[in-house]
């Protein structure tokens, strides 16, 4: 059969390839360059298309979908502005290692480079913000490229992949050849199985430790729910204290006594001091981010460090480690558990007991304490009450970026992986609401809540229209402090309380705003009403915005100011006067 006789256009081929990749949902927004794809979508009913209201939101929705399911999230946008609008989302997915395939329209191949209408150098623009990208120049390459793209997005350290599709390629005809699975890539083959010898060495180091700590991050979530189970088993078997990064929350049950809470800039006193004083640190799937290490020269100076990571470039990037283990967190934990059980090493129980006693002293500081009065709602209180009402329900939490995000990390408890989606690496305001849509699409019956700030939520508020269209009962829980609180906190700390442009002026009436989109709006500023409002929010089977008016002055503690060491934590407002921020710290973000 000659190509022109075969029935399949590039666009049809693309849809077939997506179905072969077991894609169920595509988040997208149409335009001239992708009309052939929209036509193919129209003619089938296997793929569901969710029409967002801004391409950035399409990517965040796909991220929420991906993070809550472990699958690859799929995005479809048009050329030019469609692609450039997606850039923030792609960068977000790159920083947080989220598997995304983003299909972008492109002008026809013969017009590329001519400044054609809605042309952008999409592969050029997205090269630094994707794990990999492709420009498909011939229809014969299309299906193979799509399958390769999915393989790259999900393998090794996951990340976003852009596939740029010129319009002529979408309209030309070619036969579809189903891919051979799994894809055999000629150059990209990340190492997932660790070197056994190294795992044995790690077990030996752990067995001889007197003050060990496990520091587990997003890589454990990336490795799939089984890895979290193994991590939990290993931690309980050994009795070692454990802390999580922001991205790792849920990889170990937060209610467990061995859990020290989150570490880092807004982490707990006990977690940070334990990191500082430990003698063996077991980093599993975390990347020594600057929010964690604080002042590098004083980061856990007395410890031997084991680092389990699937990406060799994460090793020795900022912190030199003693024992790197390259491999998938799940596979490494498998080996660790097996070897531990076989060897049954004797941890020095006396030392471990003394270590725990010290940790308990730090824990007794109760660093997250706050004072809830009768007048105004403290944001921490709002989250504690929220958690009280949702903890027995099947729930997922997303956040925007700011103080509310940190309080959510501190006060909501994550018992399972894949239940917590937040923008950690890029810190993208406007992430949480569209991410919640993606989660809700994947889990239609679950309670999905975006913990938001009044400033962040306005960054993708147009998505109220999307949740209305698809009847997504997403809940937006706004901790409205009338400030870009996180900015105000830094201005207070570093700039003499000159609150330059950080007041949230001219806010909409969130109740009316919700109503304008067919959602429900609730509001309270009264601590005694809070429980009732939360219960009502949960009861309503529609999208809801809850405008919780909280104490405008509250700051997020503990805090390790930028450039400071772990022991230099600010525990509350009284602390800041005593410890001026260093000049080196001032230039850091």
């Amino acid at each position: 059969m000659k190509p022109e006789e075969s029935a399949t256009t590039g666009a049809d081929l693309l849809v077939k390839a997506l179905i072969d990749e077991e894609v169920e949902v595509v988040f997208g927004y149409p335009g001239g360059a992708v009309l052939p794809i929209y036509d193919s979508l129209f003619k089938q009913n296997r793929l569901r298309h969710i029409l967002v209201r801004h391409e950035q939101a399409a990517v965040h929705a796909a991220e929420g979908y991906a993070r809550s399911t472990g699958k690859v999230g799929v995005v479809l946008v048009t050329s030019g502005p469609g692609a450039t609008n997606a850039v923030t989302g792609l960068t977000d997915a790159l920083m947080d290692s989220i598997p995304i395939v983003c299909l972008t329209g492109q002008v026809p191949t013969h017009m590329i480079g001519n400044d054609a209408f809605q042309e952008a150098d999409t592969t050029g623009i997205t090269r630094p913000c994707t794990k990999h990208n492709y420009l498909v120049k011939a229809v014969g390459d299309l299906a193979r490229t799509v399958h390769e793209g999915f393989y790259v997005a999900r393998s090794g350290r996951p990340g976003p992949v852009v596939i740029d599709l010129p319009k002529d390629v979408l309209m030309n005809k070619h036969d579809y050849v189903a891919p051979k699975m799994p894809v055999q890539h000629k150059s990209y083959r990340p190492q997932v199985k660790p070197e056994l010898k190294k795992v044995e060495q790690a077990i030996e180091m752990i067995a001889n430790a007197k003050r060990p700590i496990i520091y587990a991050g997003g890589g454990v979530i990336n490795a799939g729910p089984r890895a979290s189970k193994l991590l939990t088993q290993f931690t309980r078997l050994t009795g070692i204290p454990i802390t999580n990064t922001l991205m790792g929350l849920g990889s170990f049950p937060a209610s467990d006594k061995q859990f020290l809470g989150m570490l880092g800039m807004h982490g707990t006193y006990e977690a940070n001091l334990a990191m500082y004083h430990c003698d063996v640190m077991i980093n599993i799937g975390a990347r020594f981010d600057d929010r964690i290490t604080g002042k590098l020269a004083e980061f856990s100076p007395k410890s031997k460090k084991i680092h389990v990571d699937i990406d060799p470039s994460s090793i020795n990037k900022s912190v030199r480690v003693d024992l790197p283990i390259i491999g998938d967190a799940g596979q490494v934990l498998d080996d660790m558990l097996r070897i531990w059980k076989a060897k049954q090493p004797k941890l020095d129980q006396k030392a471990l007991k003394a270590w725990w006693a010290e940790i308990e002293k730090w824990r007794a500081r109760d660093c997250l304490a706050y004072k809830q009065g009768k007048e105004t709602i403290k944001p921490q209180f709002a989250l504690e009450r929220l958690y009280h009402h949702i903890k027995d329900k099947d729930h997922y939490i997303t956040t925007e970026v700011g103080q509310h995000q940190m309080w959510a990390a501190q006060f909501l408890k994550f018992e399972q992986p894949n239940r917590w989606m937040t923008s950690g690496g890029l810190g993208t305001m406007g992430y949480g609401f569209p991410a919640a849509m993606g989660v809700q699409i994947a889990h239609p019956d679950a309670l999905v809540i975006d913990v938001a700030g009044e400033a962040s939520i306005l960054m993708n508020i147009q998505e109220l229209s999307t949740v209305a269209q698809y009847h997504l009962p997403v809940k937006i829980f706004v901790l409205n402090n009338h400030y870009m609180g996180m900015v105000r906190q830094w201005q207070e700390l570093l700039h003499g309380g000159r609150y330059s442009e950080s007041y949230s002026d001219s806010l909409p009436d969130f109740v009316k705003l919700a109503e304008a989109f067919g959602a429900v709006g609730l509001r309270t500023g009264d601590p005694s009403e809070l429980d009732g409002v939360i219960k009502e929010m949960i009861k309503i089977k529609k999208p809801v915005i809850v405008d919780v008016l909280v104490d405008e002055k509250e700051n997020c503690f503990p805090m390790i100011p930028s450039g400071a060491a772990h022991y230099d934590m600010l525990l509350g407002p009284e602390d800041k006067a005593a410890k001026p921020i260093s000049e080196e710290g001032m230039v850091l973000v």
């Binding site: 592969t123 090269r127 990999h132 420009l135 790259v152 090794g156 150059s187």
Partner: protein, 168 residues
């Protein structure tokens, strides 16, 4: 010890596909690494592979990062640090155009002979010399020619290979 900056010659085997050079160069500029020299050309037409030779500078930790970052680019097949992996040879080629007459012209020719540079173009008032060798040698030659009427210089940058029978 850990902060000592040294120069490393790194060979990278990549798919010869559009954008690959931009990927590599973008990695260096985006992450603030140095490129002292970079050469690239297809070396295996059948498999469509190119070899990139990069000379870069950094502390041991940075060099390790550079290699890991290169290696995780999807179209990269292999990354080798020739500087740490045993003895290797480096060569560079330069074309040097000298415009002069009289004694200077004669002296240029004489020096070219000492450096085993070839004359590949000659006019009554100009020569183009081709010189190959280590970068040091090329640099010395170019330096000496400076006073003898150099008007144009083109250098390839370094290509390098390990000694002995092993391929990259």
């Amino acid at each position: 010890m850990q902060d000592i900056v040294s120069s490393h010659t790194i060979s990278v085997l990549v798919d010869n596909e559009p954008g690959i050079l931009a990927r590599v160069v973008g990695l260096f500029s985006g992450r603030g690494y140095n490129i002292e020299s970079l050469t690239v050309a297809e070396t295996d037409a059948k498999e469509r592979l190119s070899r990139i030779t990069i000379v870069t500078k950094g502390t041991p930790m940075i060099i390790e990062q550079i290699k890991a970052q290169l290696d995780r680019l999807v179209p990269v097949h292999r990354v080798r640090d020739l500087t740490v992996e045993g003895p290797h040879i480096e060569r560079e080629l330069a074309l040097v155009k000298v415009k002069s007459t009289g004694e200077k012209r004669v002296e240029a020719l004489r020096l070219a002979d000492v450096f085993r540079a070839k004359v590949i173009d000659a006019k009554t008032d100009s020569f183009v010399f081709e010189v190959t060798g280590s970068s040091d040698k090329v640099q010395t030659f170019v330096g000496l020619m400076e006073s003898l009427g150099v008007v144009d210089i083109g250098r390839t940058g370094i290509v390098a290979m390990s000694r002995g029978g092993e391929p990259l």
